[in-house]
């Protein structure tokens, strides 16, 4: 089934982030996401993609899956980088906390825009964030 194939994209520049957003949106449209759901997953992807460029050592990968759960379909995105990692995940998720001069809402905001949010990070080894948004009722 073509839906279960994992696709991936390298993130190295802000053009790649734009390309990723279009890619995620196309997949979201493809499985019938509503306009609101599309916008939410694309915005979350944009935040996390840009985080990789700014904090994740400047490059990484994003993987896209279309999982199904209880006959619901969703989009799952995994962002991986081999950057410096996050020392204090709790703190990083807190609104207003930033090390890069941004608004400090990206990580927490992305978490609020999706249904599932998993983060794994080790200082010096990199960060992996997996987000899933299910197709709404």
């Amino acid at each position: 089934m073509p839906l279960s194939v994992t696709e991936s994209l390298a993130l190295r520049s802000s053009e790649d982030v734009v390309r990723m957003r279009q890619w995620v949106r196309a997949r979201a449209v493809g499985i019938g996401f509503s306009l609101v759901d599309q916008t939410k997953i694309v915005t979350a992807a944009s935040e996390l993609g840009r985080n990789i460029l700014e904090h994740g050592g400047g490059e990484g990968h994003v993987y896209l899956d279309l999982p199904t759960h209880n006959s619901k379909i969703g989009i799952q995105l995994t962002f991986e980088d081999k950057g410096p990692g996050i020392a204090d995940i709790e703190q990083a998720l807190k609104d207003g906390f930033t090390t890069g001069g941004g608004l400090g809402l990206g990580l927490g905001g992305a978490r609020r825009l999706v249904n599932q949010f998993e983060i794994a990070s080790r200082p010096g080894e990199g960060t992996r964030i997996t987000i899933t948004r299910w197709k709404g009722p």
Partner: protein, 313 residues
Amino acid sequence: MTAAPKSRIAEILNHYEGDLLKDWMKQQLTGKAVPTDLMKESELRDQCAEFLRLLREASRGSVTDMVGSEWTELKNLLSDITGSRARQGFTPAETATFVFSFKQPLFDRLRQAYGKDADGLSMDLWNATTLLDNLGLLTTEYHQKGREDVIVRQQRDLMELSTPVVNIWDGVLALPLIGTLDSERTQVVMQNLLQRIVDTGSAIAIIDITGVPIVDTLVAQHLLKTVAAARLMGADCIISGIRPQIAQTIVHLGVDLKDVVTKATLSDALSIAFQRTGYTVRKGGRSESVSSNGTEDGVQTKVASRAGGTQHL
């Protein structure tokens, strides 16, 4: 073990340069490799002759790799040829064929030179084919590079084109944003807007984001900075064109737009702008205020008919 036999390609290029040129030209003109409507025969001859000359010089070193500095001039020539051909309308395949078409004349000479020495011939045929393949592929790379340069230039053009600041009413500027707001573009947008605020002495600037596909925290931050900078210069900003899905996303992100006046549509924003600047717009002979619903169309018509010029700064 015996040392690898020496390649005779350099020797052949040296000996038969004139003949090779003749054969190669014939090859290209009789074949379909060169669309003769796109370039003159004399131009082709010049390119071929120059290519042969530089190839002869470069092959004095090693013909099995092309890393040495003696290959630089030949590579530069190919880059130039590719560039000029791309402008003349050649496809990448046609440009690569220019190099590949040299194979047959060269192979013919190699066959003559080696006679019955099959081992030597096959060695040098391999050398020659590798060399010309690499050179041919190089033209494809240059072609691609040329295209990428065009794309970069177009991006830059687009950046300026897509950030017009429109003076829609006396003292009211509108900035319809379209497309992705990356940092570089936002910089341009912000500068244009601030400059126009100075130039026109406008008190209100409407930033319309109907054409912005998503508003993430970076876009929001850019907008907030623009609003703050405009405020420092004495102008108030209204952000309009906030669609339902954008509104929901902004709420989830937790971006605080409390200090900014926001509206769903540009016409709502314009109504506010009229109120603030003390204008009332009437439809026909009747006197109705701008903000009442019934006159909205009337307002738009009037605004359109008196709209100021668009400027690309």
